[in-house]
């Protein structure tokens, strides 16, 4: 069996028809993991193969919705009884006593958690290099980063050692690695997937997202993990009678039914090769009926600093709880007072990037700077949201590069925070306005994948997935090309 082209839809169809096929699939999958994973380092923890197969076969026999589908889960999403480290030393021994709501939904529908994927420590980064467990490598070029922070989730799907995965997206952390690895990465409207159990980086921006090989696969899993959750006050019920999957399959919608707009500010500073690939794709879409216009949104220049002010402020608060008291690493506290003890645990437990953001965030929230930075950032955030809603009404979805460049080499950006943060310039807008955004594979530049990003205002998810599905029909999905591995 070759599993390179088996996505969610194919898996479910095969598994429900023949539960025996499931055990064959799993053995090929684990064999491939054994071969490929040591080169890529996409997982921090893997499920026990025997237990996983047993669960999956049983689940297929019971004809559950997911029929034992293996799902890789980013290691900042809580899994009961399975270590959840956030890529940090401080949580290196933490085993959650509960499942995140999204994980629980997957299990309840017969899915199997295949493993926990690598990430930038506490999801703070765009390259998966700040992980305590070593960097993840890009399956297309092992000297390059897979993007981040959901780099493990994207690399595992790209390397075909997971058919689909959950990531989290605070400023592009699902879309950026999808773009660098030739996969589809979707961040829904804030609240569509419950955050309960997602270990917070920046609560008002964090959203669980899905990485897969096709839009269809994403819609299938989105139907399982979305929904209002009584445990998350910020979660919402998506207002639609139809499922995401059946709605994208709706044969009555054509590319010509959609409108798209290029925002000139989002094409500035884009690598010329990336630009060439994307403009060619857009030309192809236009010739297939998509109406494309171009506008300028000057305020969008403020998106990146606004994003970092809010993200760091919230991070400094969310990460206060890691003090070696109730969970995570601890030390013998005798002989020191609790202030010293906390400092010691946080000193050894957190990496440099995390410390940098905690310190900057604490500064932003402190007396005298709060109004100047935080309140001002919230104001810009509100303005951007209003603006995007209006742009959508007038011109349709915003189409842009997902990242201004293709995957950089390991170590290339990590030591320069400003260069590192600039990788997020295209993606943070969606998190600030709370709307959905998707990155779809749009071709290659210099042998490396290039992603095309679609961004819309809150609750435009259904239309966005339908558009992405039509685009995929024209330019091919992530399944079309597999990296030369194994």
């Amino acid at each position: 069996m070759r599993i390179e082209h088996i996505g969610v839809a194919e898996y479910i169809e095969n598994a429900r028809n023949d539960p025996e096929w499931v055990s064959e699939y799993y053995s090929v999958l684990f064999e491939r993991i054994g071969k490929v994973e040591p080169e890529i380092n996409s997982y921090i923890t893997l499920a026990d193969p025997e237990k996983a197969v047993k669960n999956a076969v049983e689940s297929a026999k019971r004809k559950t919705t997911l029929a034992g589908l293996p799902v890789a889960v980013k290691d900042n999403i809580s899994t009961k009884g399975m270590k959840t480290t956030c890529g940090s030393r401080i949580l290196s021994n933490y085993v959650p006593p509960y499942d995140a709501t999204a994980v629980r939904s997957i299990k309840e529908h017969g899915g199997v958690i295949l493993g926990k994927t690598n990430l930038d420590e506490f999801a703070m980064g765009s390259t998966t290099e700040t992980s305590f467990y070593g960097p993840t490598r890009n399956p297309w070029d092992l000297d390059r980063v897979p993007g981040g922070s959901s780099g493990g989730s994207a690399a595992a799907v790209a390397a075909r050692i997971a058919p689909v995965s959950l990531g989290s997206d605070t400023g592009g952390s699902v879309r950026n690695p999808a773009s660098f690895t030739g996969t589809v990465g979707f961040k829904p409207t804030y609240g569509v997937i419950s955050r309960y159990g997602l270990i917070a980086y920046a609560s008002s921006l964090d959203q669980i997202g899905i990485i897969g090989l096709s839009v269809e696969d994403i819609a299938l899993l989105l139907d399982i993990v979305s929904g209002e959750d009584p445990r998350d006050s910020t979660s919402i019920a998506y207002p639609s009678a139809k499922s995401f999957y059946s709605s994208i399959k709706d044969g009555d919608r054509y590319l010509g039914d959609f409108k798209a707009v290029l925002v000139s500010e989002m094409w500035r500073g884009v690598d010329p090769d990336v630009n060439t690939v994307l403009k060619a794709v857009i030309g192809k879409l236009e010739s297939n009926g998509l109406e494309v216009t171009e506008i300028s949104i000057p305020e969008i220049e403020y998106a990146l600093p606004t994003y970092y002010i809010i993200a760091m402020a919230e991070a400094s608060s969310n990460l206060a709880r890691y003090s070696g008291m109730l969970f995570g690493i601890s030390k013998d506290p005798s002989g020191v007072d609790w202030v010293k003890y906390y400092s010691r645990i946080r000193g050894i437990g957190f990496g440099r990037e995390v410390k940098r953001r905690i310190i900057l965030g604490s500064y932003i929230l402190s007396e005298g700077f709060f109004d100047q930075y935080y309140l001002k950032a919230l104001k810009i955030r509100r303005l951007l949201k209003q603006r995007l809603v209006k742009v959508y009404g007038d011109h349709g979805f915003i189409i842009s590069p997902t990242t201004p460049i293709t995957a950089p080499r390991l170590g290339e950006n990590i030591d320069d925070p400003l260069k590192l943060y600039a990788l997020d310039v295209e993606t943070v807008v969606a998190n600030l306005v709370g709307g959905p955004s998707i990155s779809v594979p749009a071709g290659f530049a210099g042998g490396l994948p290039v992603g095309l990003q679609i961004t819309g205002p809150p609750l435009s998810d259904l239309d966005m997935l339908a558009l992405a599905y039509r685009i995929e029909e024209i330019i091919g999905s992530g399944k079309t090309h597999a990296p030369p591995l194994g």
Binding site: G197, A200, S203, T234, S317, L326, L375
Partner: protein, 476 residues
Amino acid sequence: MRSIIGIELHIQVNRVGSKLFCSCPTNYYSAEANRNTCPVCLGLPGSLPVVNYSVIEKATRLALALSSRISGSLIFVRKHYFYPDLPKNYQISQYDRAGMVPFASGGYLDIGFGGSSKRIRIRRINIEEDPAKISYPEGDPLKSPYSLIDYNRSGMPLLEIVTEADMESSKEVRAFLEKILTLVDYLDICDPDLEGAFRVDANISIEGGERVEVKNIGSLRDVEKAINYELTRQRNIIRAGGSVKRETRHWDSARGVTVTSRAKEYEEDYRYFPDPDLPPIEITKEFIDNVSSNMPELPWVRAERFIESYGLSRYEANVLTSRRWLADYFENALKYYGNPSKLADLLINDFLGIVNEHGGSPRVVKGSPDKVGKLLSFLDRGVISIKILKQILPDVVLRDLDPEEIIRSRGLDVISDRSVIEKLVDEVFRENPKAVEDAKKNPKAINFLIGKVMAKTRGKAHPAIVREVVARKLRE
């Protein structure tokens, strides 16, 4: 030297089913340490708070009763400080700063004091979560080699009430507190008699001097003691020509002194900001109207009613309405016994004495109000004496024994049969000839003979009849 006092009072909302942001029960007092917890109140990574709406309803009741202005939007904020009792190292609270707003502001409570009434203004009311409880094996933190943390209390709902500095003595503060505690009992917010039901921080100064905050006062008795101690301390400093330093002090209940809190060497910056996990909740006029139309009778309204309808004194009405269960008990007993004044007297002087001897909690009261009513009517009908009544009252109150049953089985009914009493009087006269002679000359000596007759019946003889018979026989 005029003293100026304002207080910050934290009331635990222990009369709702679950904690402020999770579904752990609020009734944790008998639970084993750290068992009444969940991922939310332990602050486990990834857990999220969800507001318990009944707490908002209770806070609204309090704001209405104190005539406070309720903000249209309820915004929870995070208050950051590292401390071992705070699992997230921030407390979810409310604050007054750009982008934030207290739950309610303004309002007042009038306290009756020294025969007149005084208005204490409320500055604000906030909803917040309680931290865990730290205990020290040796009592004193400095003497203990380690400390223990019990998270059962973590996440309990608190209402913070901050007053203006309108009080001038520890007695006024106590009167204010007693009235507020009665109020929250009536509003079904808090059982004020439960352990840890309230805590007080007091801002104390002498006119013209700096303000000192005294923290950590946990009982009404300590409130008076702590304030008096601190006022004396400040007056002594001023008399000696010094000036009071602005600082935070802790009340050391064991030693009865306030001590400088060394922990705060710098001005703490709590880095308040709106909690992104809790979207603002709109408090609509409909919601407030609905709460308002379902408000229980307020204690001061009930006290007035007791005075007017039952002819009680203000003192009696105040004592009986000080707790809702007691006022309910009184009114229920009245259905079985029609003399409010005698009933009030029994409840205040005897019944409450028994309850207080057993910890003061209404939970010790097992006997239903009709039984207490029955006892009083037996007294009125001469079936038992007041002495017998007091003797059996504890069994009725604490053990729910039936008064009729006790009287019958223990043979306690009053002897009012004249022929029996005449026989007894004759006996006593025979046994005490000298006393009889004395009594004939000195009418006051009659009490000795009456006492002897009563002793022979172990107090069961009807005293009025005994007196009458003895007097008649002395004249014969």
